[in-house]
Amino acid sequence: MSLLEFTAPSLDYGLLLPFLIVLGAALVGILIEAFVPRQARFASQVVLALLALIAAIGAVLWRWSVINLVDPSTDGSGITGSVIIDGPTKAFWLILFGFGLIALLLFAERRSHGGATAFTPMAAAVPGSDQEKAAAKAGLIHSEMFPLAMFSLAGMSLMLAANDLLVLFIALEILSLPLYVMSGMARQRRLASQEAALKYFLLGAAASAIFLFGVALLFGYAGGFAYDQLAWAVTDGSSGDPLLLAGMGMVAIGLLFKLGAVPFHSWVPDVYQGAPTPVTAFMSVCTKLAAAGGLLRLLYVSVGGMRWTWQPIIAGVAILTIIVGVVIAINQTDLKRLLAYSSIAHAGFLLVPVAGGLALTSGLMAGQVGSVAAVAFYLIGYGLATIGLFAIIMLVRRQGLEVTDLEAWAGIGRRHPLLGALMTFFLLSLAGIPLTAGFVGKLAAFQAAWRGGYWWLVLVAIIGSIVAVFIYIRVIQVIYFKAAPDLREQPHMVMPGVPVTIVLVLCALGTLGLGLYPGPVLEWLQAISDFIVPVHTP
């Protein structure tokens, strides 16, 4: 298949529908900005975005049982398309759209901010200027946040379905660019927010460049961009080719950067801290999910034939990520920064089953949980707890502003028992304590790695988990038992609006439900966790 020939692909639009809905909603969102009167914009954006995501979920379920390849070549060569809708794509899509929905609810929260959103009233105004004050007074709202988030979600969903290096790159860019913008839109501490955005953009651009260079090298090795061609080249040719190794390394760096794995994590703390809290919640879950899904397919499908080579490397990255994440998180004094390091640590835990590589092709027996299902479940547990915590952060305020300094939270669990209990529950889930979804995630992840032959990696991960316990216990201790500091005004919980209430209820119920009775979800994830691996017909 030469690049110069072009034959119109035959597309199954029904299967692609979820992606098209999200992308379409983003485009319609731009039109709304242009044509709908200002008073109605925010509401229509919220409704459009939420409806689109619900429709996307419906569209996934509509053609549920059809697992197919978009753009199948008709010449019988067995080449799969550049976009592939198989079981894992659908599973990750559902999880992604679900979390997207939850995160966008946080975007829509206004009551706890005294009627404003969490975003700056006028991004173009100089921070602290009169113009900004006037904009705030006039009640301006950047409702573009919703189309931006939808574009990002479209990129993420494409990334989960990408079966071709170029498509993967395009997806990476579509998901990243809106995130750079969104990170700089915080209402409070705008300079920090803008600095975070710039930092994220520069590092992200560098990561993209490295990724693209890797793609070029892989093209040189395999003679094509499709995963199939790469997979064939790996099985046929030498898997020790420097072009292949360097190319894979660079492509993996691009994805590990998005995942927040060490040593490509340096953007995470600053961006998580600086970005508006709803955006942080969105990034910490959805971006990780897309990166993990993309990485899984890249590793398992395109270079599954040389897994003996990459497994130890991923295991090394996992160890490094866990250690750096948990050790640095222990001493953090800012809650958002602490959660940022904790999310780095969780990226490490997530890589443990990836390194284990337990799939049908490597000895997974039917009815048992393999790496892909374990990663997906782990992400659900992590996502529910993380978004729940960020939602709580949005509610604790002093003089109308978010307080993320951990010291200031002292005793808040005693003053607001329900908030304290919810927060404790989410933190325990992140720590992996039984009766929470986080525990089942850890269990599924670690057992997959062990059976993939990586019991020593599980040992290291367990030691990391022991250290991670300190992080979360410290927060619990502060919110309950630390004497409140002598401040002029203590932070307090503001009454949440409907969106945040829904988010908190969903996250709490999900964490508890999946902790008590995870069987059906795990079973469902496992049933659709097989990647379509290209048939080898040279």
Partner: protein
């Protein structure tokens, strides 16, 4: 067709109490909590009578996580039964003993929270004693830590926060070490093709002993030793005991720490008999060290609560010794010991707690001559103390004798050394009694301790004292219940009793 889930109901009753207390008015919480605890006690008594009297076999099993092989399996064998009995007896006693403790708003989380947390501990503890599935057991084993942490940190002394964190960190670290081992068992079980984490199925699997199974066993043992606790991973217990309220400590030492020794029987003996035999010399030496370390540390301790914590470390040494000697006398003795230690040490903690709440100090030097002004308090302390150092006539004597006799039949030297531990035990109990109760009371003491035990405090102590006295003179019912379990674990371990004259003497 599922039979009525009698055992699940037993575990869930306290949870109902938790919900009721959370929803009730703060004043009503105490009453509701106590009623729940008493209902649970009555229900458990009924179940015990039913299962023993009519040889009714109670058990439940429902698939829970089939792809990992875990099921919701509950079982009511002799081991579960005696531990359940201890738990349901101790909880109402603790609630009565802490009835008057004034935890107003400044005491962090109020009275309602205390009652709710105690009942939550009861719920999780009952489920962990009942569960017959490795993963299910692990889950509740870990879950007990959270309410216990809040009890220590929220309703404890000045440094309760630090002690609570120390307790929680040790507990969770031990738990995660155990998680590693659990995942290892899952991997082994899945690898064998027979996916089940039911303890009976795991016993039947008979894992071949390899370095990996040895590592798994070591992780299990470390986790349980941290829970029990044994020297040198005991350092959280004295702090926790010192900083908690007396009732909390009675629950912690009386019930929760037993999870460690309970799991040694269920998991170490039941699933890894070969590895247990392999490691038993080292473990028995470690148990001896625990016995003497605990005893001497108790003698040297100036703080009453720390002293009691150290005595418990010594007692746990005996229990572990009996378990890993693997004779029917010593295993029965250890199981019985777990109950007796809960009764005697629970009573001792409560009695000492009454004194401390009056005197306002846990220091040994702050007392003297209490017997003159509060004879009942002194009397109860003496009886409980003597029960804890295994005076004949108390049930502890029977269990300690069984343990030592069982160990003797296999390892006479170790048994001989362990017996010396009982002598030291007499020293720390009698010396403490002497320092506290005898002599002339100083003016501070007579001012502070102006009243003897009131009726409520007596009611809390009497059931415990009665229990260990009755079982001391008439241990057969308990031993009969324990016997089949002992035989089961003996057969799983493939062990037979060495022929010995002393073994007969144990009965």
């Amino acid at each position: 067709m599922m039979a009525f889930p009698f055992l699940s109901v037993l575990g869930l009753l306290p949870l109902v109490g938790v919900l009721l207390t959370c929803l009730s008015k703060p004043r009503a919480a105490k009453v509701l909590g106590l009623v729940t605890a008493l209902v649970t006690l009555a229900y458990a008594a009924g179940l015990i009578a039913w299962s023993q009297g009519f040889e009714q076999i109670l058990g439940e099993q429902v698939d829970w996580l089939p792809m990992i092989g875990s099921s919701y399996a509950l079982n009511f064998d002799g081991l579960s039964l005696v531990m359940v009995a201890l738990t349901v007896l101790l909880v109402p006693v603790v609630l009565i003993a802490e009835w008057r403790s004034d935890w107003s708003a400044d005491h962090r989380l109020g009275q309602r929270g205390f009652v709710a947390m105690v009942l939550l501990v009861e719920c999780f503890a009952l489920f962990s004693f009942l569960s017959f599935d490795l993963l299910l057991f692990y889950i509740f084993f870990e879950a007990t830590l959270i309410p216990m942490y809040f009890l220590i940190a929220g309703w404890g002394g000045q440094k309760g926060r630090q002690a609570g964190v120390k307790f929680l960190i040790f507990g969770l670290a031990g738990g995660l070490i155990m998680l590693f081992a659990v995942i290892g068992v899952i991997a082994l079980s899945l690898g064998s093709g027979d996916i089940s984490l039911n303890f009976a199925d795991l016993s039947a699997l008979q894992f071949a002993s390899t370095p990996v199974t040895k590592l798994i066993f070591i992780c299990f043992f470390i986790a349980f030793a941290m829970k029990a606790p044994m020297f040198p991973v005991h350092i959280w217990l004295p702090d926790a005991a010192e900083q908690s309220s007396a009732g909390t400590t009675a629950l912690l030492v009386g019930v929760l720490d037993k999870l460690g020794t309970f799991a040694m029987i269920r998991v170490c003996l039941g699933v890894f008999p070969e590895e247990s035999a392999w490691a038993s010399p080292v473990i028995m030496i470690a148990a001896l060290v625990s016995i003497f370390y605990g005893a001497f540390a108790a003698i040297g301790s100036r703080n009453l609560l720390r002293l009691l914590a150290y005595t418990s470390i010594s007692h746990f040494g005996f229990i572990v010794l009996g378990i890993f000697a693997v004779t029917s006398a010593s295993i029965s003795g250890s199981i019985f010991y777990m109950v007796n230690h809960g009764l005697a040490t629970g009573a001792l903690f409560l009695a000492i707690g009454y004194l401390i709440s009056r005197r306002g100090s846990a220091s040994l030097d702050a007392y003297g001559g209490v017997a003159k002004i509060a004879p009942l308090a002194a009397g109860f302390t003496l009886v409980a103390g003597l029960a804890s150092c295994a005076l004949p006539g108390t049930s502890s004597f029977v269990s300690e004798f069984l343990v030592v006799a069982g160990v003797w039949s296999r390892h006479p030297v170790i048994a001989g050394v362990a017996v010396l531990g009982t002598v030291v035990a007499a020293v720390y109990i009698l010396r403490t009694y002497q320092r506290l109760m005898t002599g002339e009371p100083s003016t501070e003491v007579s001012q502070a301790i102006d009243k003897d035990l009131n009726w409520r405090e007596r009611i809390a102590l009497i059931p415990l004292v009665l229990a260990f006295l009755v079982l001391g003179f008439w241990p057969q019912p308990a031993l009969q219940v324990i016997e089949p379990t002992t035989q089961y674990y003996m057969s799983v371990a493939g062990a037979t009793d060495p022929v010995s004259d002393l073994e007969e003497g144990g009965r």
